[in-house]
């Protein structure tokens, strides 16, 4: 394969195209197939040879592909990206004209994957001096996203075809690629219509498993960013149980663990060790103890990591649970249903909240009562918290978090 001649290549792809053999066509137009290593395919002018032997539209696509291969061999990522984009746009038209058949989906899959990877290389290698950042999006990524979006429209609009050969089966893979791009360039607001489009499909649960895992992973992360933690929990849990590799499971757990902690479930040390996420263990331990010092230290120690993953804020929000756990201990020690606010203030100070005063303690306790984390009430007149005689500190996991 790696020293395939141009004639043999043309012959093979021509046959595959005539047979409507999507898999084989896809292989032969993919950049991950060994044929791209063949030096004999880098003709200077592929137009002549290809144009003579193949029919349109296949000939155009092959020419685009061979040009991309040539540019990649010289590391001109920008040119390669432009060509691959043109390839994608051209394919989009061809694909749209293929009514009532969807064997082109595998080709689309490969094409889009290559496109995204080239865009990534552009970002990494072509402009090392321009820092990529959240707001200032790299154009390469956006260009790629535009092409993928055009393909997505073609797929989503194919509604009249019967289920077994509709192009809508390609929607999820495209959405997943778009997610990857949007998360990288920080355009999360663009994800919403995509999610809605997928959720509307009658066969939304029958997409291939690995696609479902990716999809649920990104939807879960998005839900977390929107502070919809129950939704995030559902999606990430699904992704975790269905993911195949340890590496993917670790990625999923990076988000699932904080969400679970927020909902009142602490991770076990064994699980964290297995997936090399021990930094969450320190946080969980401090949380359990109600130890503010330790909690702060655990956050600080892995701050960069947490911030990079985007979970720092949700961990900061665990402070309320932390205070709840501390107050529970205080109440157990105090052995009375009426606990003076001063005692709680002193406990907060002792546990590591240095600049606390009575007023803020009031506010914290009031918030916990309002959330249902403490059952009881505060008497401002007597400066005491009166807790219920039974179940005064309900389990965190039993509380609805909608109010937060």
């Amino acid at each position: 394969m790696s020293n395939m001649t141009i004639n043999s290549y043309i012959h093979q792809i021509g046959n595959a195209w005539e047979d409507c053999d999507g898999d084989r066509v896809a292989e032969l137009l993919s950049l991950q197939d060994p044929h791209v290593l063949s030096s004999r395919l880098s003709e200077d002018e592929p137009q002549d040879v290809v144009g003579d032997s193949l029919e349109s539209p296949l000939s155009e696509m092959v020419i685009f592909h061979l040009k991309v291969v040539k540019e990649l061999n010289t590391q001109s990522f920008n040119k390669a990206l432009n060509l691959q984009c043109q390839f994608g746009q051209f394919f989009c038209k061809v694909f749209q004209s293929q009514k009532d058949e969807n064997w082109g989906l595998t080709l689309m899959e490969k094409l889009v994957e290559d496109l995204r990877k080239i865009a990534l290389s552009v970002q990494q290698f072509d402009e090392p001096d321009e820092r990529s950042s959240e707001e200032h999006a790299p154009t390469g990524m956006e260009k790629a996203a535009d092409v993928i979006m055009a393909l997505f429209r073609v797929c989503a609009a194919d509604t009249r075809t019967q289920e077994h050969n509709t192009k809508r089966w390609g929607m999820m893979i495209l959405v997943n690629h778009l997610f990857k791009i949007y998360f990288r360039i920080n355009r999360l607001q663009l994800c919403k219509p995509l999610i809605r489009a997928i959720e509307q499909q009658s066969f939304k649960d029958q997409f291939p498993r690995e696609q479902m895992v990716t999809y649920k992973y990104y939807v879960g992360r998005k839900a977390m960013f929107d502070s919809e933690f129950h939704e995030a929990d559902d999606c990430l849990t699904y992704a975790f149980y269905h993911a195949s590799t340890l590496e993917n499971k670790k990625k999923i757990l990076t988000y699932l663990t904080p969400v679970k902690m927020f909902l009142g479930f602490l991770p076990t040390d064994e699980a964290l060790k297995k997936y090399d996420l021990i930094e969450f263990g320190h946080v969980a331990e401090a949380l359990k103890d109600g130890n503010i010092f330790k909690f702060k230290a655990a956050l600080e120690k892995s701050e960069a990591k947490f911030i990079k993953a985007g979970v720092y804020l949700i961990l900061e929000k665990l402070h309320m649970t932390l205070y709840r756990n501390l107050f529970k201990k205080v109440c157990l020690i105090y052995k009375n249903h009426q606990v003076p606010i001063n005692v709680l203030t002193a406990a907060l100070k002792w546990a590591g909240h240095e600049d606390i005063d009575t007023d803020e303690t009031h506010c914290i306790v009031a918030n916990l009562i309002c959330d249902g984390q403490i059952r009881g009430y505060i008497s401002h007149q007597h400066q005491v918290v009166v807790v219920a005689k039974q179940n005064s500190f309900p389990k965190v996991s039993s509380i609805e978090h909608e109010l937060r």
Binding site: E135, P138, T139, E303, K317, M320, D359, C363, C370, S379
Partner: protein
Amino acid sequence: MRSYHQHDTSRGTNTMEGQNYGGPDRDTNWRRPATTHNSAGDSSYSRQGRGHRHPSNHYQRGRGVPRPGGGRQLALSTEGPTTTKGASKIIGVCREMCPAKERLLREREGLLHQFEVFEHPTSSSSSWPVESSGNVGPCEILRDGRNGRRGDGGRGNRKLLPKADSKRTIKSFARSAAGQDKTLPEDLRPPIILKETVEYLCKDILPRTDCPFNIVYDFIFDRLRAIRQDMVIQRIEDNDAIKILETIVKFHIYAEFRLREEHISIYDPHINQKHLVDCLRKLLVLYEFNNYKDSSRHEFEALNCLVSINSYQVVTRAYSIRTEMNSNVLNISIEMALAYQCKNFVDFFRKIGQLPCILQMYCERHVQSMRQFAFHIMCMAYGVRDSCKIPLSWITSQLLYSSNDETHTDLGKLNVEIIRDNVTNEKYVRFKKSQADMMQSATGIKYKFLSLCIQSIVQDGNLSKLCLSL
């Protein structure tokens, strides 16, 4: 009255900028009426000059089919900072705040703003309408002038139109429309002139007190918008652009602070907010683009945090920036966002006072909802027994009300029971748990809060110091 809004303020969204930074209604903008009363060669304008004064006339015209000019405009606008390479840059050569062509045209047609003409020492005091009628705008006044109602000339006598003061005339905002070339270098002002214009607006126009502030606001808003347009067309994206945008953002914050209580016909807070956010987003892009590290950046990164105070994403971004720049104001705003999201009202109100003045002004918009949260929480936590009462003064101080009376009024509006202790004469508030749900939908809670720095600004009125960031 209606014509005033349509003609002079050019409200709505600047498509050029809206396109880049994704305003919510960017698709529909370009169908809005083209409010180009003052732009060279616009036919709707000259019709008006001939006496078709009815404003709805060209309103309908504008709303009809999409304008052919729209396409070109869109094409231009998609080129943000990312595609500057390679393309030839337009460089303005206009050395005045207003291109001569536009000045002459507006002079001839009586479309100069009161701030742009030579001031008559005799008429300057009487030229402004009574303040109570507020929304009578400059166009109206100028028309009055043309019709001789000021008592200094005959009806429609063109010779008596006010003369433009070339030192004070400023290019006004006009959407691009068919048949107009907005890219002529002689119509565009280079960065140095743009900066001078901004400085003039902030130092000489903003502090003016001889007319209602909404007129000052509309004038400055429009002229700053034209400046933004000039910057977009010339692709000015360096530190000059940053300084100018910083000033514009501050101006919009201050405008909200001054005009928030006005009627919607005088001041539209949504449009102001939209422009504020547009400018801020663009500013953040330019910070990244230029790798800008000046201390002024901290303030605007902090502002971003306060603008999207409930957003997980924005605060996460702020965390990642915080590690690069150790900034006190950014830290405070992050803590405030956290306090807001956790509904820790005590912490939130304590942190407000530590912010720079301009950010405190912005925070007014969160005060209302924070107080609402606080009342809800108090109902839930203190409203169980009848004997549970909270001193009114405690609420006043925790929620930064300026006086007990104000707190009393607010709580009275919400039907919360307030009792007086016969011995100490102190007032107590008695919340009821049954009122908790009502608190969440309560309206009319005050947003003003006790702030020393805002008080001092209101007193000494050094607005250029507040807004100008050059």
